[in-house]
């Protein structure tokens, strides 16, 4: 409960939380406010924002409602961000935990694999995966998760290395616990806080990766995502810049919110770091 109190003491963390809740509210309200398909034609193309009350944020180059796409896009971004982060953190903590706990050749093999993934620029790897497996929403999400796990893995490994020889772990061993019980029951709960904090960074990066893919028109074209909208706006960027700018702001706000919440969690969970 102390951690919760500490969290709310930081204004930046509270602002981040409010923004994040606003984005979540947008995602939830999308179906209610815009019951029609957001990708259906709604009116004349390229209506400027604030000129037509039917389209408060205007329309894009094929005449689709930008406001509706922004609201539905929040769903996609949060979905991709959340699921990809879960995948990355799960793979990362498991590999990191085993590498850190067993050490020796297990560590050597797992860490060489991790380095192999890390040395490839993750966006290039993502492009390869999407090119090979196609660009449906599912494959894109999994691909983003798969390219994001090395950093959490290294973090978990470092935590395990320092925790595995603590006396409470040795005590567990003398009580007759199996390795898996020690890893999951004793060490992992103590190793998780920094990983949870890092999850915020992973989520922000995941949202950006999807947008970047969509900008290159390599993401799933059949869903209303912010990145797709930016990609469409590219063709009319010099005159109707708002088509790209509006979803751009939405991405900015979401990534900022996630980062602020992550930073706030960090300060709340590691109070000593904050006092400096």
């Amino acid at each position: 409960m102390d951690a919760v109190k500490r969290y709310f003491r930081s204004p930046a963390a509270v602002i981040g939380l409010v923004l994040l809740l606003a984005v979540i509210a947008m995602a939830l309200a999308a179906g209610f406010l815009y019951p029609r398909d957001p990708l259906a034609l709604a009116g004349r193309p390229l209506v400027w924002p604030f000129t037509n009350p039917r389209f408060p944020l205007g329309t894009d180059n094929s005449g689709r409602d930008i406001a509706a796409q922004v609201f539905y896009g929040a769903r996609i971004s949060l979905l991709i961000g959340g699921v990809a982060t879960a995948i990355a953190i799960t793979i990362g903590t498991l590999l990191g935990a085993f590498a850190g706990y067993y050490g020796g050749w297990v560590d050597n093999i797992l860490m060489r694999i991790t380095e192999a993934f890390q040395t490839l620029p993750n966006f290039v790897l993502l492009l390869v995966l999407v090119a090979v497996f196609g660009s449906t929403l599912t494959t894109v999400t999994i691909a983003i998760g798969v390219v994001s796990w090395p950093a959490p893995a290294r973090l978990t490994r470092a935590e395990f290395l320092s925790l595995r020889n603590r006396e409470f772990v040795q005590a567990g061993r003398t009580l007759g616990m199996k390795d898996l019980q020690l890893i999951l029951g004793e060490i992992l709960p103590n190793a998780l806080p920094p990983v949870i904090v890092y999850a915020g960074v992973v989520m922000a990066v995941a949202i950006l990766l999807e947008s970047a893919l969509a900008f290159l028109r390599l993401s799933d074209p059949n869903v209303a995502s912010w990145g797709n909208l930016i990609g469409l706006g590219r063709d009319v960027l010099r005159v109707q810049w708002y088509v790209s700018a509006i979803p751009g702001i939405a991405i900015l706000v979401t990534v900022l919110a996630v980062s602020l919440v992550g930073q706030g969690l960090n300060d709340a969970l590691n109070p000593r770091l904050k006092q400096r």
Binding site: R166, E167, F168, G176, P189
Partner: protein
């Protein structure tokens, strides 16, 4: 002692931030140190003795402030001094040495360079002159081969040598006052004896005033001219060392002195002829670094150790750090796999068992760890920690938790405390939880690795008493690892002395400590601080 005081504290109070366990770290503390005397400040952890040193140096942590009284150093009030004035005083006027020389020295710079810095900051001497002074200082603190030591990095020196280097640095500018904050606590007894003697010699030669902070009455007896006893941030007693040690007036001082265990063993208990644990020829060698066998470093941590533990007896293994006593303990519970030898527990050879078999049989032999803070998982409740063992071995959860509450009572804890997390307990209470956890599996043999070393003397006495009671009541056989000969003398029936991985002497405790045969055992016993005082103390007790 009639000389004018160098430092005098007048009703000094230091306030703690809100939310601390008490409002003031120090309350109305008055004391004085004259030149050419050693004043010992004694107290248990939390008594405010280190805070006092920091207050004098004006190095208090954020949020902690001096809120009353004066600290007069050569007639100047340090509490009112500006930061610039304080920088002049620190190092040149008042120097300080710390408990842990490894963390007090910068690991990236050579020892000589760090001592030379004192001269570079405070004086305008030439390089050659500084170099000469550094070597003279290192020679003063009797570091073997000063020229080499000056070029060494801190990790290349032993703990005792590092502390000598720290002392050299502190004395570089001939300070009027030396504050020593537990300077020998992290050292082995034989090294401690040497460092105490060194501080004594230098103090007499240079006529420095020394404020010596310690928790150990043995050290006080060894070094102090006068003593100040502190409790909860207040001075409860002060006077000449002889007076305070032999005729303490305050109840707290009496309690502290009574808690110092005598070095003499109590009358021996009858021992069972039957051995529950017998280890024969156990060896463990560490290899590190090197490629294909080239350049590898080989350390023989335990060499050919053979010991027996009679049923219901207590076997002490004593030695200094690096003697291999902890490695041997961990071999016995198979946290470490020995390279060779046999460990017979009730006739079964532990050393030859596979991982799974060890896991099943582990309930016969359990371990208590040294650090009451590190040995309990901070994310589990106390009752859960104690119940873990039985649950692992197949007891239903509810039964195990109920049993844990009963064990809480056995080790002198409130059974309702089971719902609390480890950080809500004090060090002594945590050690009781650790003990309850080990006892939950109803072991035949308990291996205790320095179980009381991290505790204050009064708490230490309570835990040792508890261990004695449990031993009688449950018929436990105990392997007791310790570096503290006094503690070993109190709890052990048999004792083995280890040095550099080898058992140099073993036998009944009265015999080994009363008539030591091996020169190393003799040296160890002679190094126990306050030996003479203890002897008097024992005579008075018996």
């Amino acid at each position: 002692m009639s000389e004018a005081p160098i430092l005098s504290l007048e009703d000094l109070s230091v306030r703690l931030p809100e939310g601390a366990d008490r409002s003031h770290a120090l309350k109305d503390v008055s004391l004085s140190v004259a030149s050419n005397e050693i004043l010992c400040v004694v107290g248990e952890s939390g008594s405010g003795k280190s805070m006092m040193a920091n207050a004098i140096m004006r190095l208090l942590p954020q949020g902690v402030e001096i809120d009353g009284g004066r600290a007069l150093f050569e007639d100047r009030d340090l509490c009112a001094a500006s930061p610039a004035e304080m920088r002049e005083v620190r190092g040149a006027g008042i120097a300080m040495i710390f408990q842990e020389p490894m963390t007090a020295l910068n690991p990236l710079r050579t020892v000589g360079d760090q001592i030379a810095e004192m001269f570079r900051v405070h004086t305008g001497l030439s390089r050659a002159e500084i170099d000469k002074r550094v070597l003279a200082l290192l020679d003063d603190v009797r570091i073997p081969d000063p020229r080499l030591a000056a070029k060494a990095y801190p990790h290349e020196l032993s703990g005792g040598q590092r502390q000598r280097a720290m002392i050299a640095m502190a004395l570089a500018l001939d300070p009027r006052l030396l504050i020593a904050d537990e300077p020998t606590t992290a050292l082995d007894v034989t090294t401690q004896a040497q460092i105490l003697k060194l501080i004594r010699d230098l103090q007499q030669r240079k006529k420095t005033a020394v404020l010596f902070i310690t928790h150990d009455f043995g050290v006080v007896a060894e070094i102090a001219d006068r003593v100040v006893v502190m409790q909860h941030g207040r001075v409860v007693e002060h006077g000449l060392a002889n007076e305070v040690l032999n005729h303490p007036t305050h109840a707290y001082t009496r309690q502290l002195i009574a808690a110092v265990p005598p070095l003499k063993a109590p009358s021996p208990r009858p021992l069972s002829p039957e051995n529950i644990l017998a280890i024969a020829g156990v060896s463990k060698t560490y290899r590190s670094g090197g490629f294909l066998g080239r350049g590898a470093r080989i350390t023989a941590a335990v060499r050919n150790a053979s010991l027996t533990l009679p049923k219901g007896g207590t076997l002490g293994i004593v030695g200094e750090s690096g003697s291999g006593k902890s490695t041997l303990a961990r071999c016995i519970v198979r946290l470490i796999d020995p390279d060779a030898g046999a460990i017979l527990l009730d006739g079964k050879d532990w050393a030859k068992m596979g991982r799974d078999e060890v896991r099943r049989e582990t309930r016969h032999i359990q371990m208590v760890f040294q650090d009451p803070f590190a040995s309990l998982n901070p994310r589990r409740k106390a009752a859960e920690l104690v119940a873990q063992g039985p649950i692992v071995h197949g007891t239903p959860r509810a039964t195990a938790i109920a049993e844990a509450k009963r064990l809480f009572e056995l080790v002198g804890l409130d059974p309702s405390a089971g719902d609390r997390f480890p950080h809500e307990f004090s060090g002594g209470q945590r050690q009781r939880i650790g003990l309850a956890r080990a006892l939950a599996l109803k072991p035949d043999v308990l291996v205790a690795d320095e179980p009381v070393s991290a505790l204050d003397v009064s708490v230490q006495a309570q835990v040792l008493k508890l261990l004695g009671e449990l031993r009688e009541r449950l018929g436990l056989s105990i392997v007791f690892i310790t570096h503290d000969l006094r503690v070993a003398a109190q709890v052990c029936d048999l004792v083995a002395v280890m040095k550099e991985g080898e058992i140099v002497e073993h036998g009944p405790v009265a015999e080994v400590f009363g008539r030591p045969q091996h020169p190393y055992t003799k040296a160890l016993i002679a190094s126990v601080p306050g030996g003479e005082f203890t002897a008097q103390h024992e005579a008075a007790v018996s």
